[in-house]
């Protein structure tokens, strides 16, 4: 005797996933067509990203010209760290970041109504609506290059760590998303909300330094309040062969808790949306 309800729920759940994937695909294609109109702009954006990340590499190159290790990290290990930030950034643009950048306009103009009434969870719709392959592609490519270059120069590089590295990159993406969602929940109370994403920007800006530099209160702060010390350090530690089980467990724990928190805060904040000019 099988409970039919559960089965129906199960198919609807998998059906929902499939539908979201289809929607993601069409949003991505739609946005890609728009982006391809401005090809020159795209080339400039990629070049700019590469310069931007190049400066970060130069920063570490100069510091490593003076020191052997930072918090136990060698230069090549640090390249994996810096590169991973670039990869996470590109993954974020491929999944949600641009949507949050537009959120302020949606709320101010009242167009957010459309998001609320669409047959799709708002926190997914907002994320998928503006997914962009090219917005941060330069950082993604440069990031991959840095990760590869650092990995090739390691003494104890092991290919077995790659799957776990990818998994933890995904975990970092979840932390990034959850943090964005929590911070952006404040949009319904603010008139000028651009600054919320400035906060998120600064959050990612501090991700490229190894977690080992923190101690005491700072460590707790950059783990639980502003969890940027986990974003790049956790995946990079795995690939660099310096991972501990604790760190992986901690990162997954923070991701899960933060995601639950973010979703609750977001869903609660939605009640305060006042739908301007409609």
């Amino acid at each position: 005797m099988k409970p039919p309800v559960t089965e129906a729920y199960a198919t609807s759940l998998s059906g929902r996933w499939a539908r979201y994937l289809r929607l993601y695909r069409s949003f991505l294609m739609h946005n890609l067509k728009n982006e391809m109109i401005y090809r020159a702009n795209f080339a400039i954006a990629v070049g700019m990203d590469i310069v931007f990340m190049g400066v970060n590499v130069v920063f570490f190159a100069i510091v490593y010209g003076n020191v052997e290790t930072i918090g136990g990290w060698t230069f090549h290990q640090t390249l994996i760290l810096v590169g991973s930030v670039g990869v996470v950034r590109e993954l974020a643009y491929l999944t949600f970041r641009q949507g949050f950048l537009q959120l302020g306009d949606y709320v101010r103009t009242g167009n957010f109504d459309v998001m609320l009434t669409a047959p799709m969870a708002t926190f997914v719709h907002l994320a998928f609506r503006h997914v962009s392959l090219t917005e941060s592609l330069g950082e993604g490519l440069m990031g991959l290059f840095l990760v590869g270059y650092g990995f090739a120069h390691l003494d104890a590089a092991s290919w077995i760590s790659v799957p776990l590295y990818l998994l933890m990159l995904f975990n970092s993406l979840v932390i990034y998303y959850a943090f964005s969602l929590t911070v952006n929940s404040m949009v319904f109370w603010l008139v000028k909300s651009q600054e919320l994403n400035t906060v998120v920007y600064y959050f990612m800006n501090t991700a490229r330094y190894p977690r080992e530099i923190y101690h005491g209160l700072g460590k707790a702060f950059f783990t639980f309040i502003v969890p940027s010390s986990l974003i790049a350090t956790t995946p990079a530690s795995i690939l660099a062969g310096r991972a501990e089980g604790n760190l992986v467990g901690l990162s997954i724990g923070v991701a899960v808790v933060l995601l639950c928190l973010g979703l609750s805060v977001w869903n609660w904040s939605l009640h305060y949306y006042s739908s301007a000019s409609s």
């Binding site: 310069v51 920007y201 330094y209």
Partner: protein, 262 residues
């Protein structure tokens, strides 16, 4: 003069009303600076060091960098580019205002306002880290520091204005501009003290005027600058040369202006 005073007052009130964004950008810088302080602390605790800097010197360097970022570095080019691109610049052509002086006034009031805010943050931070702050040994250093800040502020404005009016010639200046700013701040010593750079790189950075924005004032404060007087004169000359170039560039730019959207 009267009209610029009005511009100053209006912008001051504007800044007062939208103090939130200013505050958040200061907090963001503070966050980054805190991370860097942890970074230097970790390096010095492991028995390593950077160039001739003591940990206190480095901590002081970055607290001053935080304050200079708000007091000296200029970000008006964002608005200038928007005005030129969207065509609102046309309004200026009929106003009895000089565009350069107008933005100078806006920048001045903005920097004074932000400067007051960051001064509080910087003082609180110095107070917490008082044991690790290198204070100047002579009173004259503070005067020199103030003069260096003023010269740095003038130069920073002139460079940013120059980036802004590039929009007369280039349509898609925004992405390009971000790169220029980032590179400029790096060569100014905002991320790392210039004397930690490799020798050839250092020679280039020293020949460029960008070091007067950040590195030069801080070196004066730390009493590490060997020739402050020569620095003041060079910076002063750059201010004048850039002023002449900007006046000329602005004239040419206005002739090229297409008043898009009108």
């Amino acid at each position: 003069m009267q009209k610029y005073w009005t511009v100053f007052r209006v912008n001051w009130q504007n800044a007062l009303q939208y103090r939130g964004p200013t505050f958040i950008s200061i907090l963001g810088n503070l966050l980054h600076i805190s991370v860097l302080l942890y970074l230097w602390n970790a390096i010095y605790r492991s028995g390593q060091h950077l160039g001739s800097y003591s940990l206190s010197d480095l901590i002081t360097y970055y607290i001053l960098q935080l304050m200079i970022n708000s007091m000296v570095l200029s970000y008006i080019s964002w608005d200038i580019v928007d005005e030129i691109r969207e065509g609102t610049f046309s309004n200026f052509l009929v106003k009895p205002l000089n565009y350069l002086y107008y933005w100078f006034t806006i920048n001045l009031s903005g920097k004074l306002f932000e400067g007051l805010m960051v001064l509080i943050v910087g003082l609180v931070m110095s107070f917490i880290l008082i044991a690790h702050v290198s204070l100047p040994s002579q009173g004259i250093t503070l005067l020199r520091f103030a003069l260096a800040l003023v010269l740095g502020g003038l130069l920073a404005f002139e460079f940013d204005f120059a980036i802004g009016i590039l929009a007369f010639w280039l349509v898609k200046v925004n992405s390009f501009k971000y790169m220029l700013q980032y590179g400029m701040f790096f060569l100014a010593g905002a991320l790392l003290p210039l004397d930690l750079f490799p020798a050839q790189f250092q020679a280039v950075a020293n020949a460029l005027p960008f070091r007067f924005l950040v590195f030069f004032p801080i070196q004066i404060f730390l009493e590490k600058e060997p020739a402050p007087m020569a620095g003041f004169i060079t910076a002063g000359l750059w201010v004048i040369v850039l002023y002449i170039i900007l006046r000329f560039g602005l004239q040419r730019g206005i002739k090229r202006y297409e008043a898009a959207g009108h």
